[in-house]
Amino acid sequence: MRLRDVSITAWIGILGILLAFFCAIFAPWIAPFGEREIVGGVWEPMGGAYLLGTDNLGRDILSRMIFGARTTLSVAMAATIISFSLGIILSFTAAVSRGWIDQIFSRFNDLMMSIPTLIFALVVLAALPQSLIVLILVMAVLDSTRVYRLGRAVALDVAVMEFVEAAKLRGEGRIWIIFREILPNTLTPLLAEFGLRFAFSILFLSTLSFLGLGIQPPAADWGGMVKDNKDGIIFGISAALVPGGAIAALAICVNLVVDWLLKRTSSLKGGRGDA
């Protein structure tokens, strides 16, 4: 793949994602104020000392946005990585073993997917103690059902190929077949799916935080910032739209890259658009 093969829209997406990660990594050095520091009046307008204004407690929105990138990205990324590992390992095991293992995993997956993700998360979060690890695990487990479905479909296609048969005949174990034969041959569609799931995780985390069930204050997080500042909307104060816009922009950027990846691999079918 050469650099000029990357389409303009994909470049926009890549730049947006890089910017967000840059903010997340170097947050303490580039943020003008502290994350929880009250620096001015309530809801001061944009411009001047506070580039994006101040929030409902008088904290600098730009600084909180930069620190929020750190929380939002790391939680979403952790959830996506766990959901991917879980979904892929289970789905590949199912595809390689077939038989009753496949039946049990797949039927249970159907059951999990028959409850809408957000509703399921609400029910589970109502019962579990509120902590960051619980939040990440709940997001990961719910999301892994989608990964499982795609992973199984893709792996089944590859599992019936001759080279897998050859590997089985020469006596390779199940672990070898999963990681050395199937995984390398399904990497591109899975990479696109990873991007898609990551975008979904960002949106999902923000939605949960917005509902007050995600990341708890005073930690800055984009969804939670929308919730903090939503009362300003009635007075025409657009502070809530800044983090909202950032969530949207980041999700669009990821989708642009995914869209380009998907176009490159026209062989991929199914598993999309199912939030």
């Binding site: 829209t9 159907d110 059951l111 999990m112 997917m113 028959s114 409850i115 809408p116 957000l118 509703i119 399921f120 609400l122 029910v123 589970v124 979060l125 109502a126 019962a127 579990l128 103690p129 975008a199 949106l203 923000s206 939605t207 917005f210 509902l211 007050g212 069930l213 969804g223 929308v226 939503k230 909307i233 009635i234 007075f235 025409g236 657009s238 809530a240 739209l241 909202g244 816009g245 969530i247 949207a248 999700a251 669009i252 990821v254 989708n255 642009l256 869209d259 658009g273 199912d274 939030a275």
Partner: protein, 340 residues
């Protein structure tokens, strides 16, 4: 979502059922699907009740705080009936739920069913009007995109819908509020409805939340419609219709439309299922007195009877709409009636 391969995975049936199945293949298949959904619903109820009970975390300790004495915790648990075995409580709950009685809220002590009865209507009202607007719009735009495939209108529709998929619901909601309710003052916020409200007033109040919902499902539905029509249009029989000299109009009406109806209806049903869930966030944004708001409020105070009841109802709607999508697909496509 259940996939069609499941039917073929069923074990071979007895000779008597087989003959019945051969005489009424369609009815048998639909009955099977209904049975499967009932089974699924039962399993979901077990998951929602049993799963939650199995998780750590306890209303009594949350309610009394960390410093509660064991005696106080035990008293509350006895009050709420939590000290009895889980299987007994599950069947009591399920028995009540089937009769429309979801017990009393832990937080307020009021009847859950009464609250839900009032709020479910509001939520369905909102979802219904969002559907009435978004379904024709999505199908129309999807067709437009196919008609101008790979030309400017298609590309614009593609980019805009890709962006719309990425927008969180609350962002769209607040954008609409800021623009229409605050700046232009032509819409009302918050969207509070009450019982004595007239129909026209009600419609006016839900204009913004409904618009938000339309926006959220429109992009999904349109992209899926476009893909569904495209896959029909690129099939071999459409090519042969063109090659044998049929006019484009005739080819579409005689050959494409009957085959495209099933996937499009399927797309619509799937998105209606999505709509029912989408109301949760939109109701919170617009402070609309519906099921979603009720559930979110209950989750924050860990009011389990309310959470379980709302969860079960939302899941039931989702499963039933998915089932309808499946059945319509079977009815519209004879090939699915005789799985190989």
């Amino acid at each position: 979502m259940t996939d069609t391969t499941e039917t073929s995975a069923l074990p071979p049936e007895t000779s008597q059922r087989r003959s019945l199945g051969e005489r009424f293949p369609l009815a048998t298949l639909i009955l099977q699907r209904l049975g499967l959904s009932a089974l699924l619903l039962f399993a979901v109820s077990v998951l929602i009740f049993g799963g939650v009970e199995a998780l750590p975390g306890d209303f009594a300790t949350t309610y009394l705080g960390q410093s509660a004495t064991p005696q106080a915790v035990a008293n509350i648990r006895a009050d709420l009936g939590l000290d009895r075995p889980i299987v007994t409580r599950y069947f009591e709950w399920l028995g009540g739920a089937v009769q429309g009685d979801f017990g009393n809220s832990w937080a307020s002590g009021n009847s859950v069913s009464e609250q839900i009865g009032r709020r479910l209507g509001n939520s369905l009202f909102l979802a219904f009007f969002a559907a009435v607007v978004s379904v024709p719009l999505a199908v129309g735009l999807g067709m437009l995109a196919v008609f101008y495939r790979d030309r400017v209108p298609d590309k614009i529709i593609n980019i805009v819908s890709l962006a719309a998929i990425s927008l969180p619901e609350f962002f769209i909601g607040y954008l609409l509020i800021l623009f229409f309710a605050v700046n232009m003052r032509i819409a009302t916020f918050p969207a509070t409805v009450y019982d004595s409200m007239g129909f026209i007033d009600r419609l006016q109040t839900i204009a913004l939340p409904a618009a938000t919902l339309v926006f959220v499902v429109l992009a999904h539905m349109m992209r899926m419609t476009r893909a569904a029509i495209l896959s029909v249009m690129s099939s071999a029989y459409m090519e042969s219709a063109e090659l044998k000299g049929l006019s484009a109009m005739r080819a579409i009406i005689k050959h494409a439309a009957p085959n495209a109806i099933a996937p499009i209806v399927n797309v619509v049903a799937l998105n209606l299922a999505y709509l029912v869930v989408g109301v949760v966030v939109v109701e919170v944004v617009f402070v609309y007195p519906g099921m979603g708001q009720y559930m979110v409020d209950a989750v924050t105070v860990r009011d389990m009877p309310v959470v379980q009841a709302c969860g079960l109802i939302f899941a039931a709607f989702y499963i039933i709409l998915n089932m309808v999508a499946d059945i319509i697909a079977i009815v519209a496509n004879p090939r699915l009636r005789h799985p190989r």
